[in-house]
Every structure is written in structure tokens, then in C-alpha cells.
């Protein structure tokens, strides 16, 4: 019994001293410090205990470090919600969050975040992973100080990865231009003129105009700018292709329903929206695997939009055959019904669709040119959808029947084609493709009840410009309109560029009412 008590007292005393020691550590001051105080706190902390301090830096950057409001005790929290687990920072003891409001995140602002990243970068120059070392040098390059440069110079000798070596040499050249002997400076300018990076260009710009090296620096800047402009042109082309692929994706379903069947479907945009909402719903079902959810969404969105499309065709459009004005009004009404239905079911707010990791960021070709991955995937997806549809219409028996019905309905019926059935399936196909477009668009833009309206005009524009009834026309029209828009945008501005493109289309249609690729022969009479 006495043993028990004494050990208990021992434990208590131990705990108390631990608490007292704890009170003097920077950990307790962190909670309520201002941003600049936090910075000095971490600086001194790194000098006294660098491994703990660096782990705190990492935690701050990840946003996992919280504190209890009334005790200032630091805790680690992954999900800030009542009932979720937490870990005490000092003792590692597990617990639960009894009340969400009792804990608050240790706050970080942009200035402090940059400082934390720089601190971490300095420590990561010796990391085993070359990618980490690369981003570490990159971070230092953004805000190069003499201390940083000395640090880089120290690790340069033992660096083996060629990418990291290149970047380190760039940093050292910038540093030499700033601090080196005249001979070193001249050498540095030659080195920097070979680079494509903005850092090199800015370093050369900083050379004073009265310096003997000024003319050399100026020609260096010109050389960099010249090469960067070439890549800029490639980038503009890519932007145009990407905008074009979005236009093609949005319009290609319409190329089938309007182009092949001749139905003016004003609810086309809402079918795109349904595809996007399908993506949202599937992501809600599979919250931890956004990538997988996106892939599953493709067939699901095709089914959802396709079935709704078939419903619209069987329920409304087939009774209005040959009355385009009534079809237009009826489908416009359907589009309003679908919008309001989505507003009532999902709320009028936009829904957030997550971008999977493999689609985020960009593919960096060199310092002057990088292609955004999400758009690269959309361009690829657009081409796949296009060629699958083309094959389907050209080579399958359904495609044969669709073309037969659209060219001469009576004759096709006489040959035993069930034209009503073909109509429904064709409309379903066009609508399903709109659903696929919705999945792709959910990765680029907002998912909300109004999203369809943004695409309906563009879709009709692309189909009419390309030539009604011609899939190739839709592809060429979409891509060329996209590129034209992006070529105009830099000097005309976004608003004027759009107007100019529309004016051009109006003039073009005046001259060529059947679009870029008019149908010829018997198909044209249908």
C-alpha cells in the first residue's frame, strides 16, 4: 500500500516537473504569439533543438497543429470536428475533441508561411530524395540570400542529380553576379544568358546601366526573351487547343442530336450539367478515392444523361417532329425544369468536385513552358470521344441505321428500320455524350445549376459553324474557334475577343450558310 502511494507521489512529482519544464519551452508561447513573434520563436527554437523545431515547422505548414483555447496546450488534430481524435503535442497522449470550438489552429499567414518554407528548404538540401532537394533549391532561388547561396555552394560538390546540379549552378551564378569579382560576374552573365528562367532574367535586369557589364547583360536579356517568346507562342497554341477541346466536347453531343437528327435541343446544356452532378454524387459515395470516382463517373454520367435524353425524346420531342419552333420552346422549358430540379435537390449553391492528384498541377517541359495536366487530359479525352463516336456512326449497324433514317425516313422504314427506336437511341447517344462532357467540365469549372447555360450558345455556334450533320466539321470548328479566341485574347482582351469571334461567325454564316463542311448529295436534302 505504502509502495503504491510513494510511486504515485513520485509520478505526480515527475509530471509536475515535466509541466514546469514544458512551460519554459517555445511550444507554450506559440499559441498566442503574433506572426512576427512566431517567426523569432521558431528561429531561436531551431538553434536550441532543431529536430523538434523542424517537425513543428512541418506541422504548421500542414495545418495540423492546434491549441486548446483556455490552456494554450498544443495538440495535433487531423480532422477538426467534435468527436474526432487528437494527440497531445508534448506527451503524445491520445484524446478526443469534446467541443470543436475549444480548439483553434495555430495560425500562419503568407509571410510566415514563406519563412517556414525557406527554413524547411535549408534543412532539406541534404535530403535523400532528389525531388525534395530540387524543390528546396527552387524555394531558395525565389528569395536568394548570401547565406542561402553559401549553403547551396556547400552542398553543390556532393550533389549527383543533374537537375538539382543545374538549378544549383543557376543559383550560384545569380549569387556571383551579385557578389563576385568582375571576371566571375562576366562568366555568370554568360551562364545566365543560357537559362530560360525568370530568375536569371531578373538577375540580369538588376545589373546597373552604368556598369561595364551592362551591354553584355542587355544582350543576355534579349536572348532569354527571344527564346521565351517562342515558347509563349507554343503555350498560346496549347491554350487554344484546350479551349477548342472544351468547345468540341460540349458541342459534339449536339452535333448528333441537332446535326444528324435535326432536333433543336435547348436542354443540351442541362444534360452536360447532369453529367457534372453525377461526378459530384459518385465522389460523395467514394470520398477517399477521387480518381477512381472520376473514372466510374464516366459510364454513370453517360447512362444518366442518356436515359434523361431518351426520356425527353420519347416523352416530348417525338410528338413535335417537323415543328422546330415548338421543339425549341418545349426543350427550353425542359431546361428550366431540370435547372430548378437540381436547385431543389442539391441546393442552389455550387458543389465542389475534387481534382484527383494525377490531374493536378502541370507538366513542366522547361522553365518557360509547362502544360496544365487537367487540360491535357481533357484534350486527350475529347479526341477519344470524337473517334469512338465517329467509328460508331461509320462502322456499326446502329450508325448505318441512324444515317439511313436521317437521309430518308420513309425509305429506311420501308427497308425495315424501326425509325422511332433509332430516333430514341440516337438522341440518347447524343445526350450521353453531353453527360461525358459534364464529367470533363467538372474538372475545369464550377458545378452548379447554371453551368449548362454557359455552354448552350457555344455548342450551337460550333455545330453550325462546322456544318450541320458533320462530326469532322464540329472538331475542326471547335478547335479553330478555340485557337482564334486565344490568339485574339492577348491583344484584344477577353470581352472583345469573344465579340470578334462572334462577329466573324455571323459574317461567315452569311456567306456559307451550310458551315465549313456542308453536306453534299442526298444527305443534304434530308
Amino acid at each position: 500500500m505504502s509502495n503504491w502511494t510513494s510511486s504515485l507521489i513520485g509520478l505526480l512529482v515527475g509530471l509536475l516537473t515535466a509541466l514546469q519544464v514544458g512551460a519554459s519551452t517555445p511550444a507554450d508561447q506559440l499559441a498566442n504569439a503574433s506572426f512576427s513573434e512566431k517567426q523569432t520563436l521558431i528561429q531561436t527554437w531551431i538553434e536550441s533543438d532543431s529536430s523538434t523545431a523542424l517537425s513543428v515547422v512541418q506541422l504548421l505548414l500542414d495545418g495540423r497543429l492546434y491549441y486548446e483555447k483556455n490552456t494554450n496546450r498544443l495538440v495535433l488534430i487531423d480532422t477538426h470536428k467534435t468527436g474526432q481524435p487528437l494527440t497531445d503535442f508534448a506527451t503524445g497522449q491520445a484524446g478526443t475533441i469534446e467541443k470543436k470550438r475549444a480548439y483553434k489552429r495555430v495560425s500562419v499567414n503568407n509571410t510566415l508561411r514563406t519563412f517556414l518554407r525557406d527554413t524547411l528548404a535549408a534543412a532539406q538540401l541534404s535530403d535523400a530524395d532528389p525531388a525534395v532537394r530540387l524543390s528546396s533549391v527552387q524555394q531558395m532561388l525565389g528569395d536568394l540570400t548570401p547565406e542561402n547561396a553559401d549553403q547551396i555552394a556547400k552542398f553543390r560538390a556532393q550533389e549527383t542529380d543533374t537537375d538539382v546540379v543545374d538549378l544549383m549552378d543557376l543559383a550560384l551564378a545569380i549569387d556571383r553576379l551579385d557578389r563576385g569579382t568582375p571576371a566571375e560576374q562576366a562568366q555568370a552573365i554568360a551562364r545566365l544568358a543560357d537559362s530560360l528562367t525568370v530568375e536569371a532574367m531578373n538577375a540580369l535586369r538588376a545589373v546597373p546601366a552604368n556598369s561595364p557589364l551592362a551591354s553584355q547583360a542587355r544582350s543576355g536579356i534579349q536572348s532569354i526573351e527571344h527564346r521565351r517568346n517562342r515558347y509563349k507562342a507554343v503555350e498560346t497554341l496549347y491554350f487554344g487547343l484546350s479551349l477548342g477541346s472544351v468547345l468540341v466536347l460540349a458541342g459534339i453531343g449536339l452535333a448528333i442530336t441537332f446535326g444528324v437528327m435535326g432536333v433543336i435541343n435547348m436542354a443540351h446544356g442541362e444534360l452536360i450539367m447532369l453529367g457534372a452532378y453525377t461526378t459530384f454524387v459518385i465522389q460523395q459515395i467514394l470520398p477517399s478515392q477521387p480518381g477512381m470516382a472520376l473514372l466510374i463517373s464516366l459510364p454513370c454520367a453517360f447512362m444518366v444523361s442518356g436515359l434523361v435524353g431518351i426520356g425527353i425524346q420519347r416523352g416530348v420531342i417525338r410528338f413535335l417532329t417537323g415543328r422546330p419552333l415548338e421543339t425549341l420552346l418545349a426543350t427550353f422549358g425542359i431546361s428550366l425544369i431540370l435547372q430548378q430540379a437540381v436547385r431543389s435537390i442539391f441546393s442552389p449553391l455550387n458543389r465542389s468536385v475534387v481534382t484527383p492528384e494525377w490531374m493536378a498541377g502541370s507538366w513542366e517541359i522547361n522553365a518557360a513552358l509547362s502544360l496544365t495536366l487537367n487540360r491535357l487530359y481533357v484534350i486527350g479525352f475529347c479526341l477519344v470521344v470524337f473517334f469512338v463516336l465517329l467509328t460508331l456512326l461509320k462502322r456499326s449497324s446502329l450508325g448505318l441505321q441512324v444515317r439511313a433514317v436521317s437521309q430518308n425516313r420513309q425509305m429506311a422504314q420501308a427497308m425495315g428500320v424501326r425509325s422511332g427506336w433509332v430516333d430514341a437511341l440516337t438522341f440518347g447517344l447524343g445526350s450521353g455524350v453531353a453527360g461525358l462532357a459534364g464529367v470533363a467540365l467538372s474538372q475545369l469549372t464550377n458545378v452548379g445549376p447554371n453551368m449548362g447555360q454557359a455552354y448552350i450558345i457555344d455548342s450551337f455556334m460550333v455545330v453550325v459553324f462546322g456544318g450541320v450533320g458533320n462530326l469532322w466539321g464540329t472538331l475542326v470548328a471547335g478547335l479553330s474557334l478555340g485557337i482564334a479566341n486565344k490568339l485574339l485574347e492577348p491583344w484584344a482582351g477577353a470581352v472583345l475577343a469573344k465579340i470578334l469571334v462572334l462577329v466573324f461567325i455571323v459574317l461567315f454564316i452569311q456567306k456559307n450558310p451550310r458551315g465549313l463542311f456542308p453536306q453534299r448529295g442526298r444527305a443534304a436534302e434530308g
Partner: protein, 429 residues
């Protein structure tokens, strides 16, 4: 259209019934409050929440015993994001339903559409959204921010952070154009060179931001610290931020400070790539005060959804409604003329822990907060003005309006009084 209207009617039905039963004699004699927010169409995305906020505030006031011994009754109409319909519905609210005050509108064009009607019928409109200023009506109370309560402090904060180059990006309509004109004048007055300011406008709902983001990147890569001041509106924000994330522009390099992105807009975005970008408002859901905690709890209880967020225009309605209630108590009447006189000088608690007052120019005083976006869709408050900022109806930085003041108290009673020529050019009593 029907499901929303139906659900809400059901929700307020018990209140109406309770009123009728408990006070049969006075049942016909309620104080009517008009709620003029779009429940369908483009603007439903923002305005539906404000309609719910008003219903909640009215319900709470009724639980406290109503006003002047009477119960309040909300009259909800749907102007369907259609600007001329706003004017028609406002007329209907005042003439047919006999409401004593209207809480509503979101876009400036909807307010401008209601303005002549509300002035002609001499009723009251409480307008809860940040706007471009350059207006002061005897019949309108501006509880949202004027440019000096949002844009200018935001730019001040960024200057403190060392920003030297500025991109002013906005949607092409009156609010961004006026705000950017004011900001451009302000920046130049603070020694920023013309070549360090880039102004860019895009159409409504613009969805392809590739070239613009690339231009911003280029503009920001010239060695000086650069920031984007965004007056981009509504749906165009999501693709804008997505493109920023995709092109690797993060908040350390080029922070974006937005005046139209709040908690509710963030709830529809993937916030991971946005961390560190900024917004300037007079209220954030993360503000620490008891009144805010109570408001959030009440909102969660009212909507039955723990994940619903609160935002700045909601706080503006909270302040505006409470000011109206206080003014009615003070005047002992709901008659608009009496309330107009009584409301000037009324102070009520705001949700950030202070008091807001109605000023003689029909704008209110409130603190300005700068917040950084967090990955959970909330804002971390990184800066707060030391005191309250009084809304300025006429900007001091525009040549046409710098001499104008607005004071609706007797004897001046003028919305646009030129202090140099000593003439009143606005609406007069």
C-alpha cells in the same frame, strides 16, 4: 420553383398559426416585412441563403415577443434574378402587401431597379451586399460594405506586406469598374507607377482563364512582389482559382485578394489549391465572439444542417434587421418616415464583438477584416482594422465625387451635397 416555396411556406406555417391562435383579435394586425431575394435563376445561388436568414431573424424576434406588441410576418417574393421584376415585386410588396420595410437585392443593378420605386412609395430598403458606393438614397440603408470598408483596407494590408505591383481583375460590370477606378486612383496617390498596375476585365461567367492567368504570372515574374485584387463575380471564380492552382500560382508568390469570395462560395470549391489566398470582409464565420457563436448555433438549428456556413451578407442582414427593430422601438411606430429619422445613430452589436452604428449617410460603421483561406473552407483572420470604419457613400478618390457628402439629418437632408459649391445635387426631402 415550387418545392422551395412550398417547403418554406410549411416552415413558417406554424408561426403563422401560433400567431393566429394566441392572438386572434390581433391576428390581422401583424407588422409585415418584405423579403426581396431571388429564389430562382442565376442569383438564387447567393440570395436563397439571405431569404432563409431573414426568416430566421424574424422567427427569433417573434419568439422574443415580436415588436410593439405585434407579431412580425415575413412576406417572401421571388424576383427570379430578373432585374425589372425586382421593381415590380417591390411595388407589389409595398402597395399590395403593405410591408413596412423591405430587406433584399444582391446585385447593384437589382438595387438600381428598385430604387425609383422605393423612393416614389417612400418605403425602406435594407441592402446587405458590398457595392461600389456613389449612391445615397433617403429610402435605402446600405448595410454591406462601401469601397472604403473593403477595397481600400485590403490594398493597405497588401502594401504593408510589401506588394509593389498590382493586377486589378474584375468581371465587366459596374461594381468592379467603379471599385477599380477608385483603387487605381488610390494606388497612384500612394506612389504606384502606371506600369505597375494591370487592369483586366472578363465577361460574366468567364470559364477559360488560361491566357489571363498566364499573363498574371508573367506580370508577377519581374522581381517585384505582385498581388491580384479580384472583383471577379460569382461563377467565374471557381475556374479562375482552378486555373491558378493548375498553373502553380500559389499564395506565397502572387496572393489573390477577393471581395466576392466568402465562406458560401468556398463551400462549392475544392479549397486545397487556394490555401493562403485572401479575402476582405467585415465578418468571417471564424470571428471569435459570443454573439457569433450564438448566431452560428441558431443558424445550424434553423437549417438543421451542421455544415452550413455563415457569411458577410448574412451578418449585414443581422445588423440591418436589428437596427430596424431598435429604430421602430425608438419611434414607437413602423411608419417609414418615423423610422428613417429614428434609425440614424442607432447602435446594435455586430457579430465580430463590437457595436455597429447607422450613420447619417445611411451607411454603417464596421470593422474590416482580412482573412486567409484555409483548407477547411474557413478564413484565418490575419488582420483587423484597429477601430470601426465608417462607410463612405461618395469616394474621396474619384474626381466627380470627392467633394460630395451625404447627410440625411435635418437641416441638410441631402444625399449628395457638394461642399465646394454648397449645393445639393441628389435627392432632396
Amino acid at each position: 420553383m415550387f418545392p422551395i416555396a412550398g417547403k418554406k411556406t410549411l416552415r413558417i406555417l406554424p408561426i403563422a398559426l401560433a400567431t393566429a391562435l394566441s392572438n386572434a383579435a390581433l391576428a390581422a394586425d401583424t407588422i409585415k416585412v418584405g423579403v426581396l431575394h431571388s429564389l430562382s435563376g442565376t442569383m438564387a445561388i447567393s440570395e436563397t441563403t439571405l431569404k432563409d436568414t431573414m426568416l430566421m431573424l424574424i422567427e427569433e424576434q417573434n419568439k422574443k415577443g415580436g415588436l410593439l406588441g405585434k407579431q412580425l410576418e415575413a412576406v417572401v417574393v421571388d424576383p427570379a434574378s430578373n432585374w425589372p421584376l425586382f421593381a415590380e415585386k417591390a411595388r407589389e410588396l409595398v402597395e399590395k402587401d403593405g410591408v413596412d420595410a423591405i430587406f433584399g437585392c444582391w446585385t447593384s443593378v437589382s438595387r438600381k431597379s428598385v430604387l425609383p420605386v422605393i423612393e416614389e412609395l417612400d418605403s425602406l430598403l435594407f441592402y446587405p451586399v458590398q457595392y461600389e458606393g456613389e449612391e445615397s438614397s433617403k429610402n435605402v440603408f446600405y448595410t454591406g460594405a462601401a469601397p472604403n470598408q473593403q477595397a481600400i483596407p485590403a490594398v493597405d494590408y497588401l502594401m504593408e506586406q510589401g506588394v509593389k505591383r498590382w493586377v486589378l481583375a474584375g468581371t465587366d460590370y459596374v461594381y468592379p469598374r467603379t471599385t477599380n477606378k477608385i483603387l487605381e486612383a488610390y494606388l497612384k496617390a500612394n506612389g504606384v507607377a502606371e506600369s505597375d498596375i494591370m487592369i483586366n476585365y472578363t465577361p460574366f461567367g468567364h470559364s477559360d482563364w488560361q491566357s489571363i492567368v498566364s499573363d498574371i504570372k508573367g506580370f508577377g515574374a519581374e522581381g517585384k512582389k505582385t498581388a491580384v485584387v479580384s472583383t471577379i463575380n460569382g461563377d467565374a471564380n471557381v475556374p479562375f482559382y482552378k486555373e491558378l492552382g493548375a498553373q502553380g500560382v500559389n499564395a506565397d508568390d502572387i496572393p489573390v485578394i477577393a471581395f466576392s469570395v466568402g465562406e458560401e462560395e468556398l463551400s462549392g470549391m475544392d479549397t486545397a489549391p487556394l490555401v493562403g489566398h485572401l479575402a476582405a470582409w467585415n465578418y468571417f464565420m471564424s470571428a471569435e465572439s459570443e454573439s457569433n457563436d450564438e448566431f452560428i448555433d441558431a443558424w445550424h438549428a434553423y437549417t438543421g444542417d451542421e455544415d452550413r456556413v455563415t457569411n458577410d451578407p448574412m451578418e449585414a442582414h443581422y445588423i440591418g434587421f436589428n437596427m430596424w427593430v431598435e429604430a421602430v422601438k425608438k419611434a414607437q411606430s413602423t411608419e417609414p418616415g418615423a423610422v428613417q429619422d429614428a434609425i440614424i445613430g442607432v447602435s446594435v452589436p455586430n457579430l465580430t464583438g463590437g457595436l455597429s452604428s447607422m450613420m447619417p449617410n445611411h451607411h454603417i460603421s464596421k470593422p474590416v477584416l482580412i482573412g486567409e483561406i484555409q483548407d477547411d473552407g474557413q478564413f484565418e483572420i490575419v488582420s483587423e482594422t484597429p477601430g470601426l470604419v465608417v462607410g463612405d457613400a461618395w469616394s474621396d478618390y474619384l474626381p466627380g465625387s470627392k467633394d460630395l457628402i451625404s447627410d440625411w439629418r435635418a437641416p441638410l437632408s441631402c444625399g449628395a451635397y457638394d461642399v465646394v459649391s454648397a449645393k445639393c445635387s441628389g435627392q432632396e426631402l
